[in-house]
């Protein structure tokens, strides 16, 4: 008996609907977030991550309402990310029923914010989302950098150094997305995952690129992830969460 590796379905939401695009284009509608969350919870998902990708980021009322509705029906941990820029945003998300918040771009522009958030609300509810992209060329030592704005803007920050810095500021967990793999269904960037997971003493959730169940197993066994996050393989019925867990169990991974 041991701490189980977690499977976390991710709901990208735009204006109150679950959507999923491939590399942020070709967005397909995948349903009502409350319904979808409840279904995943019943199937045995270990947590739910809700990412608000609404373009008009000034209006968070729809998101708050959705978070409230999910939290009153789903009794597993709920992480909410997207547009978390200040302490007030965090407070309103936690009050609406989120258990953790994901901080992404705001951390890059103001790393102190992560420290402030962790000391105010506790590390346990601060997830720092890291979007990394490989910048080393063939034959060079592997190197990844942090990118913002859906992978469009480089920051010059080394991904591993950044992850360690976020841990030192008080992040309770890292949500690591490979921008090279996100939406490609070709599997996690395992070298990136392992480099970050091994450099940290806080848990790492791997994200970006899951196309089949073997990818989930690789993320944990080779990428050293503590949890794996996926969206489209679950949203469009290719696999169910029980199928994923059974497959992982057969490969010797502790799952709930």
């Amino acid at each position: 008996m041991a701490l189980a590796k977690r499977i976390i379905p991710c709901l990208d939401c735009d204006n109150g609907r679950v959507v999923k695009g491939v590399k942020f284009v070709d967005i397909r509608d995948a349903g009502d977030p409350v319904e979808v969350s409840r279904r995943y919870c019943e199937q045995g998902a270990d947590e739910i991550t809700f990412l608000d990708i609404t373009a008009s980021s000034d209006d968070r009322s729809t998101t708050l309402k959705t978070v409230e509705d999910i939290a009153s029906q789903v009794f597993i941990p709920l992480t909410v990310g997207g547009g978390i820029r200040n302490v007030e945003n965090i407070r309103s998300m936690l009050n609406a029923g989120a258990d953790k918040v994901g901080i992404n771009t705001a951390a890059v522009f103001n790393p102190e914010f992560v420290g402030e958030a962790a000391s105010r609300f506790g590390s346990q509810c601060i997830v720092v989302a890291i979007d990394a992209k490989k910048v080393s060329k063939q034959g060079e030592v592997l190197r990844w950098e942090i990118f913002t704005h859906g992978g469009r803007n480089p920051t010059g920050l080394d991904a591993i150094e950044w992850a360690v810095r976020m841990q030192n500021y008080g992040a309770g967990e890292i949500l690591l997305t490979s921008m090279d793999r996100d939406g490609t269904k070709s599997g996690f960037d395992l070298a990136l995952n392992r480099a970050i997971a091994d450099a940290l003493t806080i848990p790492v959730i791997s994200s970006g690129g899951v196309g089949n169940l073997q990818h989930l197993v690789e993320g944990i066994k080779e990428g050293h992830a503590d949890a794996v996050l996926a969206a489209s393989i679950f949203h469009f019925g290719e696999y169910t969460i029980p199928q994923a867990k059974e497959f992982m169990r057969q490969q010797g991974i502790d799952v709930r």
Partner: protein, 218 residues
């Protein structure tokens, strides 16, 4: 009708536990009044008390003392069932090592210690702290609060410190994360858990439902 006071000492999100209690009240048909409150009058009049908790121990204990919730709990636990969750469990001990050392409420003899980070996982890498996610709880003693909950059920944990009671007699549940620690303790009217029942799906909701009917003293 039972009246549960969720003790609010200003340390974060009590929404989850209130929502979960509403849910179990509805499904069990046990009419339940739920107050989220720091008001001593309401706490005195409630049938059951729930001490939740997130965040750092020093801040939690500072607020608990400022609002004199520590003395209130010490009195009230003689009269009614009390459930402590996460930091709310840790606060029941005598002392915590967190934040350089903090004296706690002291209902239960023992300390709160950090997970040893020199321990390693199966890959020989440093143990990840916080202990975050779903882990099994072995029921080391029978207790009415375990009613309809299977031994070794999974519950959701998120914590960097754990309680070490002086006397193993108080331990009613154990969990293993490289080493075995006390994840549930009980003493007369007190029941306290390190995990979050409000986030532990069916097993967690069952535990909260059991709290609606548990008459304490076992």
């Amino acid at each position: 009708m039972t009246h549960i006071a969720i003790i609010d000492y200003g340390m974060g999100n009590l929404h989850s536990v209130a929502k979960a209690l509403e849910k179990v009240s509805l499904r069990s048909g046990i009419t339940t009044k739920i107050s989220v409150t720091g008001d001593s009058e309401i706490i005195l009049n409630a049938d059951r008390l729930l001490l939740p908790g997130v965040g750092a121990m020093r801040d939690c204990m500072a607020e608990i003392r400022r609002q004199q919730i520590d003395s209130l709990i010490r009195e009230q636990v003689m009269e009614k069932p009390v459930l402590g969750i996460c930091v709310g469990m840790q606060a029941m001990m005598e002392h915590s090592d967190e934040n350089g050392g903090v004296d706690c409420i002291g209902l239960c003899a023992g300390n709160v210690l950090r997970f040893a980070e020199h321990l390693t996982n199966n890959d020989g890498l440093p143990l990840k702290v916080p202990h975050m996610g779903w882990n099994n709880v072995a029921q080391t003693h029978a207790h009415p609060m375990w009613h309809k909950i299977k031994d070794e059920s999974y519950f959701y944990f998120v914590h960097s410190y754990c309680v070490v009671p002086d006397d193993a007699f108080y331990v009613v549940g154990n969990t293993t994360y490289t080493r075995t620690f006390c994840s549930a303790l009980a003493d007369q009217n007190l029941f306290a858990v390190q995990f979050h029942p409000e986030k532990s799906q069916d097993a967690g909701l069952q535990l909260l439902e059991n709290f609606l009917t548990w008459d304490g003293n076992s």
